[in-house]
Subunit: 168 residues, 3 copies
Amino acid sequence: MGKTILITGGARSGKSVIAETKALSLGPRPVYVATAEIRDAEMAARVAAHRARRGSEWSDHPEPLDLAAALRATDGQGPRLVDCLTLWLSNLMLSGRDWQAVARDLCAALPGQRDPVVIVTNEVGAGIVPDNRLARDFRDAAGEINQRVAAVADEVILAVAGLPLKVK
Amino acid sequence: MGKTILITGGARSGKSVIAETKALSLGPRPVYVATAEIRDAEMAARVAAHRARRGSEWSDHPEPLDLAAALRATDGQGPRLVDCLTLWLSNLMLSGRDWQAVARDLCAALPGQRDPVVIVTNEVGAGIVPDNRLARDFRDAAGEINQRVAAVADEVILAVAGLPLKVK
Amino acid sequence: MGKTILITGGARSGKSVIAETKALSLGPRPVYVATAEIRDAEMAARVAAHRARRGSEWSDHPEPLDLAAALRATDGQGPRLVDCLTLWLSNLMLSGRDWQAVARDLCAALPGQRDPVVIVTNEVGAGIVPDNRLARDFRDAAGEINQRVAAVADEVILAVAGLPLKVK
């Protein structure tokens, strides 16, 4: 069966490069499962920079909401890189979906994958408590999703200044 | 003598579950020393969820301010779990107490305990510098308290996505 | 050649004390390269507290902008402690300098130093995404600089509650 590897870390901690290197080491023709919905120029620039850094070896499978379906659709094509869970959570919350049910579907789908899955997420809970309720709810939900995925993952890595720190 | 174990981490990083598991492994009939003062519905919901997760094996000893006294009062009853230092600091600051003196009392009381003490705290300093002075003062004070307690602790664990990372 | 050691961590995580201890262990008469520009009373108090904690063994070499020049000017005098990169980045951005070019100069200068260099920086990306664009740009830039310096460093340490966690 394919391993599940979770890469977490703060903003610009080098998570994506660590995850891309990991995915490329796990097999040829990796699939990039982007959860980003491009809603403004700042986001478009980030996505374009990510794509330019990855080479032509990668194929793209964008999926903002149903990651379990994306994993089923791409299993057998090669290692998958899901980037990232916090944008996915943001999409789920903005669209009014039951994020807990969708997260359970993802965690249920992961152990049965034949090809490996590398998942990028963010640490968002190590600052001061946010003033507004929405931000507090988001960071609580992100923390819960990170815990659930980490619990079913075979490896968990914390990215610090571009370097991997083994957690599991 | 009883060991002191400090569990730190961001919001929803799984600190409390790690701490509860640790306390239960250290002896029967653990005592839950809650520092939370219930001031609104959001807090009441968090406290109720925590209590529901812990079983009937636990006894409660709420103490929002004088943790050294709470440790003296409960020593001999079983392992103590103090949850958490940042709410305690917040209570001390809101009540106008000299938090540095109270923190010194706590650090002086810890090494003499017969039963072990597991202490939960939060990482609050890894975000962007807060705009307002009160939030900056709070995160500076929380960081100082974490350092002081870590210095007298026998073990220090960083919780990442629900998993323990050994620091000391 | 002199080693480069990067110490990162959140606010009040004990980075500076770890860095000072490290610098003192690497040779006599260390040089303190302060990047702080004193612009208000809060900053003046922090700088004074830092200086009081360090003993008379240290010499001061303040440099808010051109760290590569500061390293060239002080090489041969003893171990250097640069404290810190995030204040330096803030100075560069406020003065309208090309921080990426200046960071490249620093990273190019580090491997050729004869005396060791200990560098303090901050983790600023593990909180909730900041509301304002300037704060987001700052945390992205800080993360990039941390990655670049970590890539050329011989050792990287994450400070957690005053304790060193080895990353590289």
